[in-house]
């Protein structure tokens, strides 16, 4: 077979003495039992984490994790083996183990490697993981000071900082050859506010595929600290949230977690190929009001959910999921694309070399509409205005999803009145967006904190949304109205 020359010095070639001939040999071994396709995913990850509590840097750790996952596809079957020992013997053994999934007689050959065109969504001279550790400690200290200075009722401040650099090399028997260096940094401040009678918490953070200097701009430690402290103090006076169906206005940014849970997971191609998703068979059908256009965009520079290539070596893209309410595309990986004939949208992701890739979101958001956010609030007689959320969850088969508001307010006669205690909101994915009656002109993306879990695998993601009004959503509060009955 022919090998094209690769012009750059390669990390794995240097570090582990790998050669193209070795890679071909492992792929050939992986296909030796008759698989249709095989790939190797080499990963070398370095990471740092620091935490501060009681104004002390209590924990600092650094680590290195390296290994290779070998995957073999044979029809709908996947064979997988991995090793953290990158010696030729162990790699060959892993390849032969993964090969056993197949039982075909025809032998696929390994195509010549074709390196993907260079792309650089996160061009960084010095990854934060390699930056001076004292500079990171200084960030923690600044946040601690700022949070405590915000209000005398802030009694506990816990700050965490983590970063990583993931170097990957993906080679496939179809000629796939992709190499990337993926930085990631995340800063978080948690606060507890206390009075004699009350306690409340706040949390805020951000980051992305950025260098350490990201935190010296407007996303400073002080920014995250003040926002976290503000939420905690606000919650001290929050009253019980109402219970039952009502109008809900979502603020811009992180409330986009609604889209992630309500439709994002349901549109992942594996569930639809297997017809286990409530969205199966709905391509081309209306699943949202005509004000809703939603995309999954892995190509945004510096974003936490972005990637130059997905974890199968496919360039990420900006995929329209829903256009003016009509379902246009699923999010696909290589396997689903091979089996359905639908395009591979570059959404094949995995947590690490120990994991099998599957369709995952990148940055998922709704495009801005035409409504003025103030008009949206004015249009609500009695409802909830939710601006900050914790996590969410979805049952993709029946479509039911939840997301938990951590900062919300009562809307009465078009005005924001009292802050409310945290409450879970629940809805039905395939129809919740049909009840979106207003979409603001103020799209924001979250600040870079999201982590998505699926089948035990965690990957970093982004979400975003403009201010929107949902005409009916169920709120899980506890408040009774005076005179019995519940606020509705």
């Amino acid at each position: 077979m022919n090998i094209q020359t690769v012009d750059k010095q390669k990390f794995f070639f240097d570090q582990y003495g790998l050669t193209h001939r070795d890679l071909e040999r492992y792929l050939a071994a992986a296909l030796s039992a008759g698989g249709d396709y095989a790939d190797l995913y080499f990963e070398y990850q370095t990471s740092t984490s620091l935490s501060m509590d009681e104004s002390l840097v209590k924990s600092a750790s650094q680590g290195i994790s390296a290994g290779c996952g070998v995957r073999v596809l044979s029809g709908e079957r996947t064979g997988y083996a991995y090793t953290d020992n990158l010696s030729p013997e162990r790699l060959l053994h892993a390849a032969k183990t993964a090969a056993l999934i197949a039982s075909g007689s025809t032998k696929e050959t390994v195509a010549a490697f074709k390196e993907k065109p260079h792309r650089s969504l996160y061009p960084i001279a010095l990854a934060s993981v390699d930056a001076e550790i004292t500079a990171k400690v200084a960030l923690l200290q600044r946040a601690d000071v700022a949070a405590r200075a915000y209000d005398s009722r802030i009694k506990e401040v816990r700050i965490s900082y983590g970063d990583e650099l993931r170097r990957i090399l993906i080679v496939g028997s179809d000629g796939t050859f992709a190499e990337d260096s993926q930085p990631l940094a995340r800063f978080n401040v948690g606060c507890i506010a206390k009075t004699e009678t009350n306690s409340a918490r706040g949390s805020h953070g951000g980051g992305g595929r950025v260098a350490l200097d990201f935190f010296s701009g407007d996303k400073s430690p002080e920014h995250f600290a003040k926002e976290s402290a503000r939420q905690a103090v606000l919650q001290l006076d929050a009253r019980e949230a109402p219970a039952g169906d009502m109008e809900v206005v979502l603020g811009p940014g992180w409330p986009g977690v609604l889209l992630h849970e309500a439709i994002g997971h349901g549109l992942e191609a594996d569930f639809n190929r297997k017809k286990t998703s409530a969205f199966a068979g709905l391509l081309g059908k209306r699943v949202a009001s005509d004000k809703c256009t939603i995309v999954d965009n892995g190509t945004m520079p510096w974003r936490r959910g972005s990637l130059n290539f997905d974890d199968e070596g496919q360039p990420t893209q900006n995929t329209v999921l829903i256009e003016k309410g009509i379902l246009k595309n699923y999010l696909s990986d290589k396997l689903s694309s091979r089996l359905t004939g639908l395009p591979d949208t570059g959404n094949g992701r995995r947590e690490s070399y120990e994991h099998i890739p599957m369709p995952r979101m990148t940055n998922t958001y709704m495009l801005s509409g035409e409504d003025n956010p103030e008009d949206i609030l004015k249009s609500v007689k009695r409802g909830m205005y939710a601006v900050n959320f914790g996590g969410g969850q979805v049952d993709i088969t029946n479509g039911k999803f939840v997301f938990s508001a951590s900062e919300a307010y009562l809307i009465e006669d078009g005005k924001i009145t009292a802050p409310l205690r945290g409450a879970t909101l629940i809805g039905n994915g395939p129809d919740v967006l049909t009840r979106v009656s207003m979409v603001g002109n103020d799209l924001q993306l979250d600040e870079g904190v999201g982590t998505c879990g699926k089948d035990g695998q965690s990957v970093p993601v982004g979400v975003g949304i403009p201010t929107i009004k949902v005409d009916r959503l169920t709120v899980g509060g506890t408040a009774r109205r005076e005179g019995g009955g519940f606020m509705q």
């Binding site: 709908e76 039911k400 899980g476």
Partner: protein
């Protein structure tokens, strides 16, 4: 059918890994550390999923990693690596020694008191090599049989996310500069079925059932698991919303465990010393009804939460957390014990990196006398919850709000399925409002609770 021959990795001899852990500690001390601790984790895993009768995935692998924590007086830092070469180990130790210089002096940090170290005597029966004894084809057959039992159970089971069989073994070694050197092995196998039921109008419902065991011999039959899974999916068909109401709520054991998780979060020494739990400062006070007794016991033979010593090398023990509603003990590691002026409860959990956290042993709510059926029979109108969505509990305030699905109770019986509803309340009150406790405590993991009836909760719906 592929013949997957699992090579249960012949790892380095145990003595070699123990020697390696001790060597890492010695290197850290030679580099100037005042104390050090090394951990080695090694594991093998096998998993297979069969979907609609065909093998969907087959995965097997082994891995290991090494972590070290070093102290310079009251400063500490940790590093980890998967590189076991001499070069990798030297780098591991030198990086930790450098990193420890940037952390703060913390008067409460340090290894536990040397007098506390040790391991439970005798065999806890945590390791059974039979989890890997089946030939490849039979392992796949376990997964296939579980799914088939579900698919064959009822014609409305038309699809499936598959049946699966998993097996794993792990080996952990801990060494420190005060002379502790210990190790243990654990094994695990499980069988799962995730069938999808479909009604005539095309609506789908999914549920699951599983069993896990430390030994293949004790694993429930795949047929039994598949059948229960099918029943659980089927009973959700035709689910509807209900009106917002305040009614008694019965928690199925699978979801009542979550109440124990909230209590754990609340008595975890880490939340307690930071005041991040409404249970902080409540030792000796009533925090729940008289009928509530919660125990953590890391010493149960064969238990999923058992180990001979905790993440700091201290023998595990039995701790009464709540006795007849009175908070008796927090769950602590040596750091949080020092912070609170108490003694560790040997609940340290040690990962590869960072400072030790706090984890449960076998942690459970003591069962009552009534059967689940009797508990349901006592309710005119209420909700039987079989599934929660989301994580809506705030231990600082006690606020509790979760998405839920289950069955409606009418006239003392389970009637129609319900979904897209919420359950809301406050944990401070909920612990007092556990009005019935079932007699059906069963460990399907390290945390277990029987059926519970809790009053005073708001069910949010239409």
């Amino acid at each position: 059918m592929p013949e997957a021959q699992l090579e249960t990795r012949t790892s380095q001899l145990e003595t070699d890994l123990k020697e390696l852990a001790a060597d890492v500690v010695r290197r850290a001390m030679a580099g100037g550390a005042t104390a050090a601790e090394a951990v080695i984790q090694e594991g093998d895993e096998f998993s297979t999923v069969v979907r609609l009768g065909e093998v969907e995935t087959l995965k097997e692998a082994g891995s290991r990693a090494l972590g070290v924590r070093v102290f310079f007086g009251q400063r500490a830092a940790s590093t980890y690596t998967s590189d076991f070469s001499l070069n990798g180990i030297e780098k591991l130790v030198s990086s930790a020694l450098v990193l420890a210089k940037i952390t703060s002096e913390d008067p409460h940090s340090g290894l536990p008191d040397a007098a506390l170290f040790g391991a439970l005597p005798g065999d806890l029966k945590l390791f059974h090599s039979d989890v890997y004894s089946l030939p490849g084809a039979e392992r796949i057959d376990y997964a296939r049989r579980a799914e088939k039992a579900a698919l064959d159970y009822d014609p409305r089971i038309k699809n499936s996310e598959g049946g699966s069989f998993d097996a794993a073994t792990s080996h952990k070694i801990l060494a420190n500069s005060l002379g502790f050197l210990g190790e243990y092995r654990r094994s695990y196998c499980s069988v799962v079925a995730v069938p999808i039921a479909q009604s005539e109008d095309g609506a789908m419902q999914r549920d699951y059932w599983y069993h896990m065991s430390r030994s293949l011999k004790a694993l429930e039959s795949p047929e039994h698991v598949g059948k229960i899974a099918a029943q659980r999916s089927l009973r959700r068909l035709g689910a509807r919303k209900v009106k917002t109401a305040r009614v008694p709520v019965v928690f199925d054991p699978l979801v009542s465990r979550s109440i124990l998780d909230h209590i754990f979060e609340g008595v975890n020494g880490d939340s307690v010393y930071r005041g991040a739990s409404f249970l902080a400062g409540k030792l000796g006070e009533k925090i729940a009804g008289d009928n509530v007794t919660v125990i953590d016991d890391g010493t149960i033979v064969g238990g999923f939460g058992s180990s001979p010593f905790d993440g700091e090398g201290i023998p595990t023990r039995r701790t009464v957390v709540i006795e007849n509603g009175v908070l008796q003990s927090y769950l602590l590691n040596s750091y949080t014990a020092r912070k609170l002026g108490m003694t560790t409860t040997a609940n340290a959990s040690r990962g590869l990196a960072g400072t030790p956290g706090i984890g449960p042993g076998n942690y459970f709510l003591q069962q009552g006398t009534k059967s689940p059926k009797e508990i349901i029979a006592g309710i005119q109108d209420g909700l039987y919850v079989t599934e929660f969505l989301g994580h809506g509990a705030n231990l600082v305030t006690g606020d509790y709000s979760r998405g839920a699905g289950g069955l409606w109770i009418s006239g003392g019986e389970l009637t129609y399925p319900v979904e897209e509803i919420t359950v809301g309340g406050n944990l401070k009150e909920m612990f007092f409002n556990i009005t019935e406790i079932g007699n059906d405590l069963e460990f399907r993991g390290s945390v277990a609770a029987p059926t519970l009836r809790i009053d005073g909760l708001t069910v949010g719906g239409e």
